[in-house]
């Protein structure tokens, strides 16, 4: 487990590429990524989907269901990994958009 000091963090204003990860990288991640892509397009932030094991190296922030956060953090220990609970309308999606708009740090 990581200590609270070395949690990867990024300034929301610097986020250019968000990756949504799921086990297969084909189903639920596509669902979430398409919702987020529409919301984040106006900040010129791209949103991609991927399987947990094939997260692109240039991802700034990784999102996944909270049950997959521990596994995902092991795969990309250097990137902020944010867990959401619901695939539809999770509060994290609004928080992410806000952080990107207002330049709030994202850590996870």
């Amino acid at each position: 487990m990581r200590g609270s000091e070395d949690v990867p963090t990024i300034d929301g204003a610097k986020v250019r590429k968000v990756v949504v990860a799921c086990d297969a990288g084909m189903g639920s991640s596509v669902l979430v990524a398409s919702q987020l892509a529409a919301a984040l397009a106006r900040y010129s932030v791209s949103v991609r989907h991927a399987s947990v094991t094939e997260i692109p190296a240039d991802a700034d922030v990784v999102l996944c269901q909270e049950a997959l956060v521990v596994r995902t953090s092991r795969v990309v220990p250097d990137k902020p990994v944010l867990g959401f609970r619901l695939f539809l309308g999770d509060p994290l999606f609004a928080r992410l958009e806000q952080a990107i708009r207002n330049g709030v740090p994202l850590a996870g």
């Binding site: 487990m1 799921c22 086990d23 297969a24 084909m26 189903g27 639920s28 669902l31 399987s51 947990v52 094991t53 269901q65 049950a67 997959l68 521990v70 596994r71 092991r74 609970r85 619901l86 695939f87 539809l88 309308g89």
Partner: protein, 374 residues
């Protein structure tokens, strides 16, 4: 901010336990994810084989002996080789895929059953051996000889592994595959197969759904389907009935916070086949896993009674995909299995949510009293 719905369940467990559970779960997801990652990229080929079987075999829609000849080599050779190649690719890229495929063909030729478990073992193993050889030779080979060495190390290792697979590993894998198939048949005969739902449904909501379906049930089912034309194993995890029942129960009786998203989730789950969408509802009210287990078990009972099965893995687990791989004459059994699973999990889920309301109100009252005391 309101407390997350499962706050009470979480604080009930000691923290250390939580960390250990997280770690075990991540390890299981990682291992299972690797199994699924060898099968999932090849699902299109599995579907092609399922459709060829459903159409052209003697009991199919368009019986045609010439075209039916495609079915057996596809399941015996092509599909295991694809799985072995994907397994090799996970370990060592394209070279791993090639040597994994060559090693797998040895297994496939050495047996009479589809060697999926063997391919999942031999593909990555062959790629790992090649990676070790590449590392050992790496610095010593001069650039001009690189291509020669690379091609021949891969070819020689692949050839040797194919021979070993055909003579040694193949027969062992055949024994294990037959043993697993017989094991499932034994469970069917003893009428305890529905108990499998008690393992499958909790594993699903921990996001081990692909691991269970593509890593375990699919390979067993493929061996069964090659022999009998259809397999109940393909339906056990992919039946969208239990999840539909859970979501309907949440829609009508769930906490207020769940209800607005439930209709969309129902469409995405039942028609889109993305089962993941209902897992958070179960994780937020863990007792709902009992509803999923009851639904899953009821679906398996119905499948056994009606001898229901599909010709390939419905992937994703959408009702449309399920019907697409249902064999001719099998619709009644499959639809009954889905409907009974949905009704059962809905009934149990509704009871659990309704019964839960009383406890929850008491707990909330207790918490409020405690807060007031602070």
């Amino acid at each position: 901010m309101t407390a997350p719905p499962d706050a009470a369940d979480r604080t009930a467990r000691p923290l250390v336990d939580r960390v250990r559970i997280d770690r075990i779960r991540a390890a299981a997801q990682g291992f299972g994810g690797n199994l699924a990652a060898m099968v999932l990229p090849n699902i299109g080929a599995f579907i092609a084989w399922g459709l060829l079987t459903a159409l052209f075999t003697p009991t199919g829609w368009l019986p045609n002996p010439t075209l039916a000849a495609l079915a057996k080599p596809t399941i015996t050779y092509l599909l295991p080789v694809l799985v072995g190649a994907s397994g090799g690719r996970l370990v060592h890229g394209q070279r791993g895929a090639v040597v994994g495929a060559v090693a797998t063909i040895g297994l496939a030729v050495g047996t009479d059953v589809p060697v999926f478990f063997g391919a999942m073992l031999v593909g990555p193993l062959a790629a790992w051996l090649l990676r070790e050889i590449d590392r050992a030779l790496g610095a010593r080979v001069r650039p001009g000889f690189r291509m020669l060495v690379d091609n021949y190390s891969c070819g020689v290792l692949g050839g040797m592994l194919a021979v070993a697979g055909m003579l040694v590993v193949g027969p062992a894998v055949e024994a294990v595959t037959l043993w697993l198939g017989n094991g499932v048949q034994l469970l069917v005969d003893r009428q305890v197969l529905p108990l499998a739902a008690a393992l499958i449904e909790p594993a699903k909501v921990l996001f081990l759904n692909n691991a269970v379906n593509h890593g375990v049930l699919g390979p067993i089912g493929a061996a069964q389907a090659a022999e009998h034309g259809k397999a109940i194993e393909f339906l056990m995890e992919t039946n969208p009935g239990p999840g539909l029942g859970v979501l309907l129960a949440c829609l009508l009786f769930g906490p207020r916070s769940m209800r607005p998203t439930a209709p969309g989730a129902i469409v995405i789950h039942f028609l889109g086949g993305i089962h993941e969408i209902y897992f958070p509802y179960v994780l937020a009210r863990p007792r709902l896993v009992l509803a999923a287990i009851a639904g899953g078990a009821a679906g398996i009972v119905m499948s056994v009674i009606t001898d229901a099965g599909t010709v390939a893995t419905p992937s994703p687990g959408s009702i449309l995909a399920v019907l697409a791989v249902t064999p001719k004459g099998g619709y009644l059994g499959v639809l009954t299995a889905v409907a009974v699973a949905a009704v059962t999990s809905f009934a149990v889920g509704s009871a659990l949510l309704g019964l839960g309301r009383a406890d929850r109100e008491t707990a909330d009252a207790g918490r409020r009293a405690a807060d007031a005391g602070e």
